[in-house]
Symmetry: C2
């Protein structure tokens, strides 16, 4: 079965110190699917859009062999919109607006033919909806779950429920501390592993990422980017590259998860070099391979 991706499809309005853009293609499922599409095909996407979702954006997804059978279209609604502004150092951003629109009543429906999916990526949506996805699947073998501070603060019980059902949880360092109330990141990681997931990935932005297993830790470097153009979607892109590589190789050993983390980091490093999904629309396999090798040189001693 193909990789199944559930999450948001959105239009983003982004302002950075360098440029601004309105109604650019965005959303967690979009970034995840595009990144994964470089490793495995087709990618099955479940999400929702309104009547304003443009044919040119449908085409971008379909050109990457993303199956949109599960992309619901609400004819009397508008697509989810998010607006954000990045500060000078790009590590800080303000949300300017969040118009949920059709996303407000989103209840992910897994198409009948996809219910046997074994590899699932739960993009960063409300934890109760992530559980709803899992409820519809017959026997998932591998579930990757992304989350954020909003759900830790507002729907923690639901998050703890879904965490018991996932294989890999992805969060960032401040969220790991928030979830456990533990400032030491290594201790925080141990506690999170006790909450259910077999593996944990802690993203640290410009400091790379950490992968935790039962008795193993892997530290992935960050790619040394001099020009970060737009950080939007970097975390989703990481998840997509990670899951895409795992689905391609079907090898869930810790050693292979390390490589998947580097492929996730590779895809994210490309993503932030251009606005919106632009960088993810036209990569070559050679570029991806070369950057993977650069990651090896960066950390090898």
């Amino acid at each position: 079965m193909s990789l199944l991706v559930v999450g948001s499809v959105a239009y983003d309005s982004i302002e950075t110190p360098f440029d601004k853009i309105n109604d650019a293609l965005g959303g967690s499922a979009t970034y995840i699917s595009l990144a994964a599409s470089y490793f495995t095909a087709p990618v099955n996407l479940v999400g929702v859009v309104g009547n304003d979702f443009k044919p040119e954006h449908t085409k971008i997804l379909e050109d990457h062999d993303i199956d949109l059978t599960g992309l619901e279209r609400i004819e009397d609604g508008k697509t989810f919109r998010w607006g954000g502004k990045y500060h000078y150092d790009l590590n800080v951003r303000d949300t300017l607006f969040t118009d949920l629109n059709v996303f407000e009543n989103f209840k992910p429906k897994i198409p009948e033919k996809w219910k046997k999916a074994s590899f699932i990526v739960l993009g960063n949506i409300m934890p109760s909806l992530q559980s709803l996805v899992l409820d519809q699947l017959e026997k998932p073998r591998f579930v990757l779950c992304d989350t954020m501070n909003l759900w830790i603060n507002n729907t923690k019980e639901d998050l703890l429920d879904v965490m018991k059902r996932v294989d890999v949880l992805i969060i960032n360092d401040s969220e790991a501390r928030l979830l456990t109330d533990e400032p030491n990141l290594i201790k925080a990681a141990r506690r999170i592993l006790q909450m259910g997931p077999e593996y944990l990935i802690i993203k640290k932005g410009e400091h790379g990422a950490l992968l935790f297993g039962d008795n193993s830790i892997f530290s992935a470097p960050a790619y040394p980017l001099e020009n970060i153009f737009d950080p939007t979607g970097a975390g989703d892109t990481f998840a997509g590259g990670f899951a895409g590589y795992l689905h391609k190789t079907q090898d869930l050993s810790f050693e292979n998860l390390k490589k998947a983390v580097i492929y996730g980091s590779t895809m994210a490093s490309f993503s932030v070099e251009k606005f919106s999904t632009k960088a993810l629309e036209g990569l070559s396999n050679l570029e991806i391979h070369d950057r993977f090798i650069e990651f090896r040189e960066l950390s090898n001693f």
Copy 2:
């Protein structure tokens, strides 16, 4: 010639969330020399203490084959004292007091027999004093220099002068940004390399360290410590392990500098596990080797 270390010798009073200690052995030259002593011997130390410097502390240094010919003793003065308090997350500390005492009028005097020294570590002291050290040396081959935000803010011109004369500068990430007024760390590093040093090390605390050369970057992971007991001296210990390994191997290639960074990180990871210099007083070569290998496993993929 032996490794030459110049810096402070101090008594530290440290408060952490776990314990407190008064008048513990400290100072940049102390940590640097102790760490380096595991790689090369003797280590030649230049510094100053007062009449209150205890024989037991002299003995600790001498037991590690640290030559104290250059440790000036001011009979009517008191040893430099520093007091600090660490917050719960140990990344934040308040300086409680700084009593410079004999350090206030410290003018490093290099003993005649050490003026041919070729490997020098300039601990974190006033930049004009670091220059004064270099003025006294005949032909240094390799100069490692540590600095801090205080000198960037207060004596920047002096710091820029000494930077033109050093081979490796060590600073932390916030200091790199402060020195260049550039939020992107990679760009900041490039600018610092243009200011003189051939190599630059940016320490990132719990996120590891970066080594920059002309066209090369190396990303060193942080050791995953669950129990950090006392971060005091971690940066100095890093510098000592780094310089000690380089002096032992006499190989200044980028590949060997990478290994030196890992040995520096190894020594720092031990140092923070106990109060003051306690951890650095009784390490075995096997422990150091084993942790070096752990660093490799942590980042290898």
